[in-house]
């Protein structure tokens, strides 16, 4: 059951091969068996899942079911779930029972999906390895000595180990795509504004986007259908007409122009990863796409720019965590200053504190122009690079990550080294473009990902290319040996 695609599961449920309750129980058992080992779950919502599965079964019986009715999923613990703990991977929210549902959660519920639990993540979505979580690191099912990537490490580890068929994640600088690459999965960051941010605990407001994670392009297209859509509660939500992202999966990609930025294939990319990617890109060519050399000259500035803008926004977004209305509060505060300073020092981990402080500095008097303003100007230059490129090509391809999953503990002590994991992914968030990572093979038995970047609102096209790629390769069907 756990190796089936969403389409296969839906068929089975509609044909009453098994019920949603049985399917849910199956995944819950797997979670019990493997979850602790991988540490990919913060909360398992057994009772809620079974109750939702029962409702789904009734819908299925009465013929009132949609494409994903009765299908289980997990939510990254950054999405508020009413009545259920929502920790954001942090001690600050260890005691936080969300009093409302995020729009994404409501939509999945309305689609009849079954919530298995809330998955582990880097604290407040800050990290590229899922090692900053208050709840401990998540292990990569492909090699438990290595990291699954971050910040949606719990989401990807769970899907990769078949503890859930699909998962929601969020991506601010690569947090869906990078762990998807490390875990051999397909993960999409949509165009900024396509998926509502209401109820998605904010890290960097102008960069954050929620998105689907699954085994295949088809599966995540189905989940994107549920997640995407205008939300009047989010001022940055796009009033884009509802699309069906599965409609064009089977379109031919003959004549598709794919740009290969020279900046992506030079220094910084592991040689073996590069070689494997060449093979992957060749597949696209075989399927009819044409390859073109392009330039994105400001690529080298993406990481520094990101690491000013994201911390600046988060330093402000995280000010609400003050021990007054919710969340962690220190014992016996002596006065107001003590309440703030100790609650926040105790509640936040080191990486979060670092980013808050860098952000505070970048916005402070005398430094705003040199740091924040400058970064926002470079952001426009980076975005313009893509605008220019998309005049020549339809899509851009490259590596998702410079290396395969690294060992746990290897980079956690050096922030800048950790930040460089994002060299290929950051720029996309700065520009607000959609991008996805598809499994593109293995290097030393560790998965790698092919990164595909599309123009604004071209998710359908991206999923189409990924799907076509998955018709002539089967990397996406591989399962980590210990989690069959």
């Amino acid at each position: 059951m756990h190796n089936k695609t969403l389409t296969e599961l839906r068929k089975a449920l509609h044909q009453r091969e098994y019920s949603s309750v049985e399917l849910t129980r199956h995944f819950l058992e797997r979670i019990e068996r493997y979850g602790i080992q991988l540490n990919s779950f913060i909360t398992v919502t057994t009772d809620i899942a079974l109750a939702q599965a029962q409702i789904a079964d009734k819908c299925l019986q009465s013929g009132n079911a949609g494409p994903l009715t009765g299908i289980p999923l997990t939510h990254k613990d950054i999405f508020c779930t009413n009545g259920v703990k929502t920790s954001c991977g942090s001690k600050m929210l260890d005691n936080f029972i969300a009093p409302y549902n995020a729009t994404v959660v409501e939509k999945c519920q309305a689609a009849g999906m079954v919530m298995l639990g809330k998955t582990n993540m880097d604290e407040f979505a800050m990290g590229s390895s899922n090692e900053t979580s208050f709840y401990g690191p998540v292990k990569n099912p492909w090699d438990t000595q290595t990291v699954p990537g971050g910040s949606s490490g719990g989401s990807t580890a769970s899907v990769a180990a078949h503890l859930t068929p699909v998962a929601t994640g969020t991506d601010t600088g690569g947090s869906i795509r990078q762990p998807a690459a490390f875990c051999g999965l397909t993960g999409l960051k949509p165009t900024y504004g396509l998926v509502s941010r209401y109820g998605m605990i904010a890290f960097a407001s102008s960069l954050d986007q929620g998105g689907p994670i699954g085994h295949s392009a088809e599966d995540i297209a189905l989940l994107l259908n549920v997640m995407a859509g205008f939300d009047k509660r989010d001022s940055t939500s796009l009033e884009h007409p509802q699309e069906n992202y599965t409609t064009h999966l089977n379109d031919s990609i003959k004549g598709l122009k794919i740009g290969l930025p020279k900046e992506y294939f030079g220094e910084g990319l592991d040689a073996q990863v590069g070689k494997q990617l060449d093979v992957a890109i060749k597949e696209l060519e075989n399927a009819g796409a044409t390859l073109h050399d392009i330039q994105l000259p400001h690529t080298y500035l993406a990481v520094p720019t990101y690491y000013i803008i994201a911390p600046a926004e988060c330093s402000s977004n995280l000010s609400r965590f003050d021990g007054v209305r919710f969340g962690h509060r220190c014992d016996n505060p002596q006065d107001l200053m003590d309440l703030y300073k100790r609650s926040r020092a105790e509640g936040f981990g080191a990486e979060v504190k670092r980013r808050i402080m860098i952000g505070t500095y970048a916005l402070s008097a005398g430094y705003y122009d040199a740091y924040y303003l400058k970064a926002q100007q470079i952001r426009r230059l980076i975005s313009n690079d893509f605008t220019e490129a998309f005049k020549q090509v339809d899509m851009i391809a490259g590596p998702t990550t410079p290396t395969t999953a690294f060992k746990m503990g290897e980079k956690i002590d050096d922030p800048v080294t950790m930040y460089l994991n994002d060299i290929y992914t950051n720029a996309i968030n700065l520009a607000g473009l959609p991008a996805l990572s598809v499994p593109a093979g293995f290097v030393n038995q560790h998965p790698i990902g092919l990164h595909l970047i599309g123009n604004y609102l071209k998710e359908s096209r991206l999923l189409n290319v990924a799907h076509q790629y998955q018709q002539c390769t089967d990397w996406h069907k591989a399962t980590p040996p210990n989690f069959v």
């Binding site: 500035l301 402080m357 926002q376 426009r380």
Partner: protein, 95 residues
């Protein structure tokens, strides 16, 4: 090093985060590394470039002036650390 101890103390104070004496050198070191790293931004001339605050350069959507929220005080206050008579309590604020 771009940052000194006093700078870090000032930043931590602005951000309302207490740092222990042992922590300060570590943070000073890491924060300085990050600032050195972002110095690269100065390699490009951005004179006359309009800053980009939003990816899509979109404009505000306004909502109608209608009361759409009802009283959920009890619900919201179940998760509050300290509440009395419906008020959130904090150490006394001196004015």
């Amino acid at each position: 090093m771009p940052l000194q101890k006093e700078d870090v103390e000032k930043i931590a104070h602005l951000a309302r985060i207490s740092l222990s004496e042992q922590d300060i050198p570590v943070y000073t070191h890491h924060l300085s590394d990050i600032l050195i790293f972002v110095e690269q931004m100065n390699s490009v001339d951005t004179t006359g470039i309009t800053p980009m605050a939003h990816p899509l350069d979109a404009v505000a959507r306004l909502r109608p002036d209608i009361v759409s929220e009802s009283n959920q005080r009890d619900h919201f206050q179940t998760i509050a650390p300290q509440v009395e008579e419906g008020l959130y309590l904090v150490p006394k604020v001196i004015e």
